[in-house]
C-alpha cells in the first residue's frame, strides 16, 4: 500500500507542472466598457489625452495627414501587436504541445481583425538578433508566473499608439500579463518606446470567453490608386503649426490645450488638481 501511494504521489508530482497551468485556450471577445471612444469609433485628431508621449510624438501626430493612408504602400497595413489587443478584435488562442512529452511549446493566437496570427514561444528560445526582420506582431516569448502568463515582445513594426497619427517606433517592446478569472480574462500591457514615450504606456482590457466561435474580419487587401493626379512620391503631411485641425479637439470638448496634448504628467491622478487651474481653450483660428 505504501509503495502504491508512493508511485501515485510521484506520478502526480511529475504531472503537476502541466496540470497547474491555467488554460487560456478558447475564443475570446473584448468588453469595451473601458476607453470605448478610443477603441471603437476611434479618437479625434489632436486627442492625445492619457498618453505619456514626448514632444517628438506630438509633432509627428500633428503632422499626420489621414490622406497618408491613401498611399499605395499604406493601404494594406494592419495594426501591430501592442495596438490591436486594445482595438476592435476577437481572438482564438490554442496550445502547441510536443506530442510525446506534452510539454508546452507555444501559444498561437488568431486575431480576427485583418487575419493576423501571433505566436508566443514557451520553449525558452532566445529572441532573434537585432538585425532580424520586424513583424506587426513582433517576436514573443512567455512564461508562467503563478497563474499569470507573462509575455515579452520585441521586433515590433512601426505603426501607431493611437489611431490618429501618434506613432510608435520599431524600437518598441511590450510586456503583457494574461490573467484569467473564470470566464473573464484581463489583459494588461506595458508598452515601452524610447523614441516616442517618456514613460511606458500601461493599459488593460477585459475579454470574455465565447462559447460560440467569433466573427472574422477577413482582409484580402489589394491596393488601388485612389488619387490620380498626386505625384507618385508625395507623402501627405502638415507642416509644423499648419494642421487645419489644430486645437479643434480641445475647443470642442472644453479640454485645456495643454491637457489635450498629453504627456506623462497628464496620466497621473495628481494632474486633476492642475487641470482645474488651466485656461479654457479658445476657438482655434481657421487655417
Amino acid at each position: 500500500m505504501k509503495w502504491t501511494c508512493g508511485v501515485v504521489a510521484l506520478v502526480l508530482a511529475v504531472a503537476a507542472p502541466a496540470a497547474a497551468q491555467m488554460s487560456l485556450v478558447g475564443e475570446w471577445s473584448p468588453r469595451y466598457h473601458e476607453d470605448q471612444p478610443d477603441r471603437i469609433p476611434g479618437p479625434e485628431l489632436g486627442d492625445y489625452t492619457g498618453l505619456p508621449i514626448n514632444e517628438g510624438a506630438r509633432l509627428a501626430a500633428d503632422s499626420w495627414d489621414a490622406s497618408r493612408l491613401t498611399l499605395r504602400e499604406h493601404q494594406c497595413k494592419v495594426h501591430n501587436g501592442p495596438y490591436i489587443l486594445n482595438g476592435p478584435i476577437q481572438f482564438r488562442l490554442w496550445e502547441e504541445k510536443d506530442l510525446r512529452t506534452q510539454q508546452l511549446l507555444a501559444y498561437h493566437m488568431y486575431l480576427n481583425t485583418y487575419e493576423q496570427e501571433r505566436t508566443i514561444w514557451m520553449d525558452g528560445r532566445p529572441h532573434p538578433p537585432e538585425w532580424a526582420p520586424h513583424t506587426w506582431q513582433g517576436f514573443s516569448t512567455g512564461k508562467w508566473e503563478g497563474d499569470i502568463l507573462t509575455v515579452y515582445t520585441t521586433h515590433i513594426k512601426q505603426e501607431w499608439i493611437r489611431r490618429n497619427g501618434v506613432p510608435n517606433s520599431e524600437k518598441s517592446t511590450m510586456v503583457e500579463h494574461f490573467i484569467r478569472h473564470g470566464g473573464i480574462m484581463t489583459h494588461l500591457e506595458i508598452w515601452d518606446d524610447p523614441v516616442y514615450l517618456s514613460e511606458p504606456l500601461i493599459r488593460s482590457e477585459d475579454f470574455v470567453l465565447n462559447e460560440r466561435s467569433g466573427g472574422n474580419w477577413l482582409w484580402p487587401c489589394e491596393y488601388v490608386d485612389e488619387i490620380v493626379d498626386r505625384p507618385h512620391s508625395a507623402v501627405p503631411n502638415y507642416l509644423p503649426g499648419q494642421s487645419p485641425f489644430e486645437g479643434d479637439f480641445a475647443y470642442r470638448y472644453g479640454v485645456p490645450v495643454e491637457a489635450a496634448k498629453g504627456g506623462a504628467e497628464t496620466t497621473y491622478p495628481e494632474y486633476q488638481a492642475k487641470l482645474r487651474t488651466l485656461p479654457k481653450p479658445t476657438k482655434p483660428v481657421t487655417k
Binding site: 538578433p129 517606433s169 512620391s233
Partner: protein, 314 residues
C-alpha cells in the same frame, strides 16, 4: 593653384574624410550570418552589411566590409559555401563597403582563372582610382556599367543592378535578386541613422528619395503588407516594404519642412533651431559620430537652397 588642383584637393579631402570616419566604425568580435530568403544571406559585423548569394555556380558577394575585417569576412563566407567567389558587386565606393574587395577577389576566381570579377557603376571606379583615394589597384572594380541598369544571371536567378544617380553618392547601385526576392540597398537605405548624403561625392537628397522610391517600386509585400520582398539595409536590420516606407516618409517630410523654411528665407542656423527633425531624432538622430542630425539638416538645406544640377522628383 589651378582649378584642376582645387578639384584634386577637394576630392582628396572628401575621400580622406570618408575613409577616416568609415574605418573608425566599430568592429564586432564576430561576423554573424542570417539567412534572408532564397539563396541570399546577410553577414553582419564586417563594416557595412554584406549580402551573399550561394548556389551551384559559386558565390556572389554584395559589398565587402572594411579592409581590416576581410579575412574574417572570408571565413564567414566559407561557412556558407565551399564554392569559389565568382562575383563581387559594390553598391558604392565607401571603404566600409569595398574594403575587402582585394582579399575576396583574390580568394575567388572567374571560370577563366582570373580573380573574381568586381562589378559596380563606373563612378565607383572613378572614385576608387583617384590618386587621393589611395586604394590598391586590385581593389578597384574590374567591370563597370554606365546606363541606368545592368543585369547578370547567376546561380539560377537574374541579378539586377539599378543605378540611382546622385543619391547617397554618385555611384549607387541597388541590387535585386529576382528569384530570391531580396533587394540590397547599400547605404541608400539604413535603419541606424538619418541618410548620409555624401554631397562631396555626388550625393543629394532628391536622389536619395528617388532611390527609396525605387526600392518601394521593386518591393512587393506579402499578406498584410508584411514580408514578401526583403530589403537588406546598408547598416542595420533586414526590412520589408513597410519599413522602407516609414523611412521614405520620414525623409520626405523632413525635406518638405526644410523646403518650406528655405522658401520663407530662413538661414541654416534658423532651420536648425526650428528642429525640423524633432519627431525622428530619438530614433535616427545623433550629435556625434559619422552621420549627425545637424549634418543631415545641413545637407538637405544646401541641396534645396541650390537645386541646380540635382536630380528631379521622379
Amino acid at each position: 593653384m589651378t582649378a584642376r588642383h582645387l578639384v584634386t584637393v577637394a576630392v582628396a579631402v572628401a575621400l580622406g574624410l570618408a575613409a577616416r570616419v568609415h574605418t573608425q566604425a566599430q568592429t564586432p568580435a564576430e561576423i554573424s550570418s542570417l539567412h534572408v530568403q532564397g539563396n541570399v544571406w546577410l553577414l553582419v559585423g564586417a563594416g557595412g552589411n554584406v549580402a551573399v548569394q550561394t548556389g551551384d555556380e559559386g558565390v556572389l558577394v554584395v559589398d565587402t566590409g572594411l579592409a581590416q575585417n576581410a579575412d574574417r569576412l572570408l571565413a564567414a563566407i566559407k561557412k556558407l559555401s565551399d564554392k569559389p567567389i565568382r562575383w563581387i558587386l559594390n553598391t558604392h565606393f565607401h571603404p566600409d563597403h569595398t574594403g575587402g574587395n582585394e582579399t575576396l577577389s583574390k580568394s575567388g576566381n572567374k571560370t577563366n582563372g582570373q580573380p573574381a570579377e568586381i562589378l559596380s557603376h563606373e563612378n565607383v571606379l572613378t572614385r576608387m582610382s583617384a590618386p587621393a583615394a589611395k586604394r590598391p589597384t586590385a581593389a578597384w572594380p574590374t567591370d563597370t556599367y554606365f546606363p541606368e541598369e545592368k543585369d547578370i544571371f547567376f546561380n539560377g536567378e537574374a541579378v539586377m543592378l539599378y543605378h540611382e544617380p546622385n543619391a547617397h553618392t554618385d555611384g549607387d547601385s541597388i541590387v535585386f535578386f529576382r528569384r530570391s526576392d531580396v533587394v540590397v540597398a547599400g547605404d541608400t537605405f539604413v535603419t541606424t541613422s538619418y541618410p548620409f548624403i555624401d554631397q562631396a561625392n555626388g550625393g543629394s537628397v532628391q536622389g536619395e528619395l528617388n532611390a527609396l522610391n525605387r526600392i518601394l517600386d521593386i518591393a512587393v509585400p506579402a499578406h498584410e503588407q508584411e514580408g514578401g520582398t526583403y530589403v537588406i539595409s546598408g547598416h542595420g536590420r533586414i526590412c520589408d516594404e513597410a519599413d522602407v516606407l516609414e523611412y521614405r516618409d520620414m525623409v520626405t517630410i523632413v525635406r518638405d519642412r526644410i523646403q518650406d523654411m528655405v522658401k520663407r528665407g530662413l538661414t541654416l542656423d534658423q532651420v536648425k533651431a526650428a528642429k525640423p527633425t524633432l519627431d525622428y531624432d530619438r530614433h535616427y538622430g545623433s550629435d556625434t559620430g559619422f552621420v549627425t542630425t545637424a549634418g543631415f539638416i545641413e545637407a538637405v538645406y544646401k541641396d534645396l537652397k541650390n537645386p541646380q544640377g540635382k536630380p528631379r522628383v521622379r
